[in-house]
């Protein structure tokens, strides 16, 4: 598999997607991208396409469920919903993230 350029984001992309879905309900891929970009005030930019391998992996892992549906503009899109397992995973990842940032913060403060 090809190496991703945004390695750090690769690790957190799942967290961002799960969090987005937890807050916003069923969304299609484009909406997820737009949401993350809007909320992060464009600070987090991913190669948009890399969202899809991640989404499909999460689907296979059972964290999200996907269904074809219709958008407001009457187009066919694939909508993703968080599953119960996905919610637990989100909790785990949030905790992991908190620890990581706390750790990094401490190092930055006291080193």
């Amino acid at each position: 598999m090809a190496k991703q350029r945004n390695d750090i984001l690769q690790g957190t992309l799942g967290l961002l997607v799960l969090k987005t879905l937890a807050g916003q309900g069923p969304l299609h891929g484009y909406a997820i991208t737009s949401h993350i970009q809007r909320v992060s005030a464009d600070m987090l930019r991913v190669e948009e396409g890399s969202l899809y391998p991640a989404l499909h992996r999460m689907e296979q892992d059972g964290w999200v469920r996907a269904e074809w549906g219709t958008t407001e503009k009457n187009r066919q899109a694939r909508f993703y919903v968080l599953t119960a397992e996905g919610k637990r995973q989100l909790a785990r990842e949030e905790e992991g993230w908190a620890r990581l940032t706390e750790g990094v913060r401490r190092v930055l403060r006291y080193a």
Binding site: A2, E47, G49, S50, Y52, A77, R78
Partner: protein, 891 residues
């Protein structure tokens, strides 16, 4: 259930691809719309949307990878690609699949035979537990008294049983209808754990002395004879004209314990007395006819079983000493022992007889497959060269070499898989044919050849191995293509790299070497068979009919049997078409023999074996009928009666061995135990003749006069020589017999067939090795022709230049043939060494030929050379007829 999903996604691969496309292009579309809304031009917006999305193809691949098992997916891709590639060159695919099919099919056919004869366990419960009781060495058959000792004394088996093969005659009189039968002890079915398909099986209570006749039918017999009707149970069946009540049918898969022989009717041991009456072997202490099979108690280790059997041996032998044996033999008998060997695969005459032959055939077909592989490898190499540009392009746009090799290998494995498919069909048909070749009129061979896991695993393994074997070299070579060079060359140019060509040449050389080995083996086996088939047996079999008469159930009583036979002989001699007829107890090469130790006054013989002479009892004119010359003395005649002194006619070998060549008027006696029987006077000497086997060294043989015995036996043979076909005499004799006594049972066989039957194995080997040798030769020829044609085509321009510069056409022919010659000579040299090494292994299969027979070797080499040059001549002539202008204009 992620894995299940991914697996399902493999199956719906195309839909998955479309869905991912739809999802991703929706994204790009939305982004474009938003950018347009933000004021960009449509065209700009689209470009920007695509830029932000990133590498579309790669993202799609990655997404797919999340949804399926990548390895299998790309494998399927390879297979699809391979199928496409093969479909684009159907002629190549056909030739490759057919030659592989023949190779793999031949291997599967022979292997399924080996599997059926040697590897399969008996279809009974826990066959691996079963052991056969023997006498320590090769001696496997027991007398009934000895079996009863083992049965009653042993304490190592939970169950033990005995079985004796026989043939039951279903006909009441006239021509016999023999079926394979078994006399079995009461615990036979219980020991093996066989269930009844209908009714019940023989039990211990059925097997008691003086029993009434009951019979269990084999499943196949029940189906063919009674249409599988359950009401057959309870009906009567006549076995050798004695009525037996059918009590049940054995399980469908059960055929007995003798692999290759399907038992049709089982009867309890005790009923042997019903059929054979006074001739019963139940109390005979020197009639060896029973095989013993037992199932050890659960806690018994093999050593304990053997020790337990050895413990009971002395007492068992002691209580069954044959009273009429000599002191020395009795002493040896008392020292007998027992042993046990695993019997999970049953016992098999066929296995003993064909073991070496089957392994020889397996090697032969293995070599054929190698030759076929070399051919396919060459085809693939040529194709790879043609595909060099395609491969170069793929390499140039970034295909990994490993991936490329895998893809090409997939193609060859696909070829061999298709070959295996064809091969299995071919094998189904071929192995049936083989079994028919093994069967003789006297002995129908039946084997379970259904494709089981072992055979399938073998075929799959062979197919995979061959696929890799012939695919590896071309695949490896292809992947080493230098894209730049290949693109530049583009198939043009006067000179070309020699690398592919030298691999191809090496392959053809190897094919020639392997073919030589096969042709030499085939030559040796064919030579042996021809020698055996054409040797002078000491009699003239053509036109001779042998009728075996069974008079056990005749209406004529025993005392008048001699008269009956004599009357029939007179009538037979008067039959139209009969030139000569006689009576004999035994006929040559029939499988039966009769021997005794003799004593000659004044002659000390080293051992009992040295004093062994083979006997027969014949009527007058027997030697005329057989076509064996009387060289001294007289034939039997009316003067030889039960009251007159015993006389005999001996063969040359006996006259030489015991009487220094002048036997007339000399005497000998038969030694029975330690006693001597009355003097026998020799009145005639005949030429040597084969007695029980065409391969044998001539045995010392003595013939008694049929007329000197007061009570002839119930089995006798009539020998009729006709002036035409032997079998044409059949009907005439039938009416003679019907008139004399309609209850006589008759079996007819021509003497020629009787001889041919004894050569079944040799004929099979000669036929098959000849066929496979020819097949290998054909494949090698195709290979050689292909490579030379290709070579001439490749060197078109070079040859064109040569001709244009004045090379004479014969010179061009010589040049091409010279190349063929070099390959053939090297191939023959290697093959000669290989043949010398491998033919030694088949020494036991040969007759009258040394494994390194120079004539065979030279002739095989010559055949190969001629065939190879012929195959090379066509492209050579094509090269010489090349129009230089045409050839050069193409450049």
């Amino acid at each position: 259930m992620s894995w299940l999903n991914r697996l399902l996604n493999l199956v719906r691969s195309d839909r998955l691809s479309r869905d991912i496309d739809r999802e991703m292009s929706f994204h790009v579309g939305e982004r474009t719309d938003d950018l347009v809304a933000a004021g960009m031009s449509r065209y700009e917006a689209r470009r920007e949307a695509k830029r932000r999305f990133g590498n579309y193809g790669m993202q799609k691949e990655n997404t797919r990878a999340a949804d399926v098992f990548t390895v299998i997916d790309s494998l399927l891709g390879d297979v699809r690609y391979a199928v496409r590639a093969l479909r684009s060159t159907p002629a190549f695919a056909l030739v490759a699949v057919l030659s592989l099919g023949l190779g793999i099919g031949a291997n599967t056919a022979i292997f399924s035979l080996i599997n059926a004869v040697m590897l399969k366990t008996l279809p009974v419960s826990h066959p691996e537990e079963l052991v056969q009781v023997n006498m320590g060495d090769d001696q496997e058959t027991f007398t009934n008294p000895l079996w009863e000792q083992v049965r009653d004394r042993q304490d190592v088996f939970s169950k033990v049983a005995a079985a004796g093969s026989t043939r039951f005659n279903l006909a009441a009189g006239g021509e016999a209808r023999p079926v394979a039968g078994n006399f079995v002890s009461g615990d036979y079915f219980a020991t093996l754990g066989v269930r009844a398909a209908a009714g019940r099986l023989i039990e211990r209570a059925d097997d008691v002395r003086g029993c009434a006749g009951v019979a269990v039918l084999g499943h196949a017999f029940w189906r063919t004879e009674y249409g599988g009707d359950a009401s057959a149970v309870g009906r009567m069946i006549n076995l050798d004209t004695r009525p037996f009540r059918i009590i049940g049918v054995a399980d469908q898969s059960f055929f007995g314990v003798d692999v290759g022989r399907t038992v049709q009717v089982y009867a309890p041991l005790c009923s042997e007395a019903i059929i054979r009456g006074a001739g019963s072997a139940l109390d005979r202490r020197s009639t060896w006819w029973l095989n013993l099979i037992g199932r050890p108690k659960a806690d018994m280790a093999p050593e304990q079983v053997r020790a337990g059997l050895k413990r009971i041996a002395p007492a068992s032998y002691e209580s069954t000493v044959p009273p009429n044996w000599g002191v020395k033999n009795q002493k040896e008998y008392r020292e007998g022992t027992f042993d046990a060997v695993p019997a999970g695969k049953g016992m098999s005459q066929l296995r003993r007889q064909y073991r070496t032959a089957l392994f020889a055939l397996m090697s032969v077909v293995g070599v054929v497959l190698l030759v076929a592989c070399a051919n396919v490898a060459n085809l693939l190499l040529a194709r790879a060269t043609a595909r060099q540009r395609e491969i170069a392009i793929r390499l140039a746009i970034g295909a990994g070499r490993g991936r490329l090799v895998r893809q090409l290998l997939t193609e060859s494995v696909l070829l061999s898989a298709l070959g295996a498919g064809v091969g299995v069909l071919f094998a189904r048909w071929g192995s049936q044919l083989l079994v028919r070749l093994l069967s003789t009129s006297r002995n129908t061979v039946s084997l379970d050849l259904s494709l089981d896991m072992t055979v399938l695993a073998f075929t799959v393994a062979v197919a995979m191995a061959t696929g890799v074997l012939f695919g590896l070299a071309p695949a490896w070579r292809s992947s080493r293509v230098n894209p730049q060079a290949a693109m530049k060359a583009g198939g043009r140019g006067v000179a070309e790299g020699h690398s592919r060509f030298s691999i191809a040449k090496a392959l053809v050389t190897a094919q020639i070497a392997l073919s030589l080995v096969l042709v030499v083996s085939a030559g040796l086996l064919l030579g042996s068979f021809t020698k055996l088939a054409n040797l002078d047996p000491g009699f003239r079999p053509a036109g001779v009919l042998v009728v075996t008469v069974d008079a056990r159930n005749a209406s004529t009583d025993e005392a008048r049997r001699g008269e009956l036979y004599q009357r029939m002989l007179e009538r037979a001699r008067a039959l139209p078409g009969v030139t000569s007829a006689s009576i004999a107890d035994l006929t040559p090469i029939s499988g039966s023999s009769w021997n005794d130790e003799i004593y000659v006054d004044g002659l000390t013989l080293k051992s009992g074996r040295d004093a062994l002479v083979y006997f027969n009892r014949v009527s007058d004119r027997h030697f005329t009928t057989m076509g064996t010359a009387l060289v001294a003395g007289r034939d039997f005649g009316a003067q030889d009666t039960p009251e007159s002194p015993q006389v005999a006619i001996v063969n040359d070998a006996m006259a030489k061995k015991f009487f220094a060549g002048s036997a007339i008027g000399k005497h000998f006696r038969i030694k029975e135990g330690d006693a001597l029987q009355p003097l026998v006077e020799i009145v005639g000497v005949v030429k040597d003749a084969k007695y029980k086997d065409l391969r044998e060294e001539t045995l010392p043989t003595a013939y008694y006069a049929a007329t000197q015995i007061a009570k002839p036996g119930s089995f006798i043979s009539f020998v009729l020589r006709g002036d035409g076909s032997a079998l044409a005499l059949t009907n005439g004799f039938k009416s003679v017999a019907a008139e004399a006594d309609p209850r006589l049972s008759l079996r007819f066989v021509s003497l020629e067939e009787q001889l041919a039957t004894s050569l079944t194995r040799e004929r099979l080997l000669a036929t098959l090795s000849g066929f496979f040798g020819a097949l290998a030769l054909l494949l090698a020829t195709i290979g050689l022709y292909g490579i030379m044609s290709y070579n001439v085509a490749r060197r078109r321009s070079e040859i064109g230049v040569r001709i244009a510069l004045g090379a004479a056409r014969p010179r061009v022919v010589r040049m091409v043939l010279g190349e063929v010659g070099r390959m053939v000579v090297i191939g023959l040299a290697i093959g000669g060494v290989a043949a010398a090494a491998s033919t030694r292994l088949m020494k036991t299969l040969l007759y009258g030929l040394s494994p390194s027979d120079p004539t065979t070797l030279a002739a095989s080499g010559a055949v190969l050379l001629v065939v190879a040059l012929a195959a090379g001549l066509v492209p050579a002539l094509r090269a010489s007829r090349l129009d230089p202008m045409d050839a050069l204009r193409e450049e």
